[in-house]
Symmetry: C2
Subunit: 239 residues, 2 copies
DNA sequence: GAGTACACGATTGTTAACAATTCCTGTCAA
DNA sequence: TTGACAGGAATTGTTAACAATCGTGTACTC
C-alpha cells in the first residue's frame, strides 16, 4: 500500500502493513473537504479496515480522533457517522468565523512575512488552475483550504487548528444546505482578499472577507431537509 | 467509585465499574488547570488504571483524547507526559488569545443575554469566595476558567472549545514560567472586565482585557529552565 | 392486515494474552 | 571510576477471541 520501492539511505523505510491512524484521519478529512463523503454516511469499522488494510485498533483510534475534531459522530453501539450539522450549529460556525477571521486578515495585512505571502499566492495559483481545468472536487476543497491557509500564514498553530476545524465544518454545511452552484466560493473573492493583504490594507481585507463570508452564508438554504443518504461511499481511495 | 447511593426515578443509575473516558479526561484536565499536575509528569497506563479503577482500554482512549487536545504528549513506545510548552508555543498561545479574546468581549458587551451575564457574575462570585478563603488551587483554576466562561457566554460551542484549549495551555505555561505570585490573574481585573461588559462599553472591555493578558504575559520569565519533575503525582483523587 | 414478540445476523465494545520496545541494573573491562 | 555491554524487568503496542448491543426479518397473534 505504501511501500517504498527503493529504500534510500538516511530515510526510514516504511515496512508497516498499512498507514497509521494519522493517515486514515487525513484521508477521511480530505474526502469530507471534497464533499465526496456526505454527512450522515456510515463509516463501519469493518469497511474501513479493508479499505485501508489495517486492523480494527487503528481504525478505532482514527475514529476517536475524527470525532474529537467534530468530523464524525460516534454513537455508542451504533457506529460512526459523518457529522451532520444542523441549523443552529451552522449559525455557530459562521458566527465563530466572523469573529476570528476579520482580526486574522487584519493582522496578515499589517505584519506580513515573505513565507506567508508565498503560501497564499501559491494557493491562489492552485485554485485558478483547478478552476481552469474544471475539477469540481479540487475546486471545492481548495476553496475551503484558502481560509485554512490564511490561518497557517500567521504561523500560529493554534489558530491554524481552529480554522481547520471551522472550515471542515463549513464544508459539511455547504454540502448539506448549499445549492450546487455555490458549493465553492465565488470566483475571484479569494484573489481580491489576497490583493488587499498584499496592498497592506487591513480595512479592505477585513471588509472583503466579511462580505465573502456573508455571500457563502446567504447562499445557503437553511430549510433544506436532512437529506437521506447513500450509506456506502468507497471514495476514500486515492491519495 | 461513582455509585449513586439513592437511585432516583427518572435518572439513570451508574452501575458501571468505573468512570468512562470522558470523566478521566475531565479529572486530568482539572488537575492541570489547578497546577497539581506539572508539565512533563509521566502518566503511565498502569497507574491511571488503578487510580480510576478502569481497564487499559478506557485509559488509552482517554490519553488519546487528551493528546488531541494538546494537554499531554503521546510518545511512541515511551508513554504519555503532561505537555511541556516551550517559549515559542507560549508566544503562540498568547498571540492567539490576543487575536480572539478582544472581539469576543466586544461582542459580549454589545449583545448580552441574561443567561450569559448570570454565568459571568456567578463566576466572579466564586472567584471572590475562593480568594477570601485563600484556596490556592481553586483560585488558580477559577482564574483561568473566567476566560473560558467568557467564551461560553457567547453560547458558541466552537469558540468555547477553542478558548478552553488555549486557557488550559496557558495554565501549563504559567506553571512553567510563572513566578509563584502571578500564578493567578491579578485580583480585580476580571471584575473590571465584567463591569465594562455590564456597562455595554466594548472599547473599555477590550482595552481592559488586552492589558490583562499583557499583565499575565509580562509576569512570565521565559528563560526559566525546563524544570526537573517529580514523576508521580497521585493528585487526581478528589472530584 | 396491522402490530408485536422473538430470534437471528451483523456490528460494536471489552478483555486478556501475546509481541515489541524501552529502561534500568549489574557486570566486566579499560 | 567510568564506560560499554548484556540481561531482565517494566511498559507500551497489537492481536484475536469473546461479550454485549442493535437492527432486521419472520412468525405469530389479534
Amino acid at each position: 500500500m505504501s511501500f517504498k520501492s527503493q529504500p534510500n539511505a538516511g530515510e526510514d523505510v516504511d515496512i508497516s502493513a498499512g498507514p497509521d491512524e494519522g493517515l486514515i484521519v487525513e484521508r477521511i478529512y480530505k474526502a469530507v473537504m471534497e464533499q465526496r463523503l456526505a454527512p450522515n454516511t456510515k463509516l463501519s469499522e469493518a469497511r474501513l479496515c479493508e479499505t485501508f488494510g489495517v486492523g480494527r485498533m487503528r481504525v478505532r483510534r482514527a475514529l476517536l480522533l475524527l470525532s474529537s475534531q467534530g468530523i464524525i459522530d460516534l454513537q455508542s453501539n451504533r457506529g460512526a457517522y459523518v457529522a451532520c450539522p444542523d441549523k443552529s450549529e451552522a449559525n455557530d460556525v459562521f458566527a465563530a468565523r466572523m469573529l476570528i477571521e476579520p482580526p486574522l486578515v487584519r493582522q496578515l495585512a499589517q505584519e506580513r512575512s515573505e513565507a506567508s505571502l508565498a503560501l497564499l499566492t501559491d494557493h491562489i495559483a492552485l485554485e485558478d488552475a483547478a478552476r481552469k481545468e474544471n475539477e469540481r472536487t479540487q475546486i471545492i476543497r481548495l476553496s475551503g483550504e484558502f481560509h485554512t491557509k490564511l490561518a497557517q500564514a500567521t504561523g500560529n498553530k493554534f489558530i491554524s487548528r481552529m480554522m481547520r476545524e471551522l472550515v471542515t465544518r463549513t464544508s459539511l454545511i455547504v454540502g448539506l444546505f448549499g445549492s450546487s452552484q455555490n458549493a465553492s466560493c465565488p470566483d475571484h473573492e479569494h484573489t481580491n482578499i489576497l490583493k488587499a493583504i498584499l496592498a497592506r490594507d487591513p480595512d479592505q481585507a477585513e471588509e472583503l472577507l466579511l462580505s465573502h463570508l456573508n455571500h457563502i452564508q446567504s447562499g445557503l438554504n437553511m430549510d433544506a431537509r436532512p437529506q437521506p443518504q447513500d450509506d456506502l461511499a468507497i471514495i476514500l481511495g486515492s491519495a
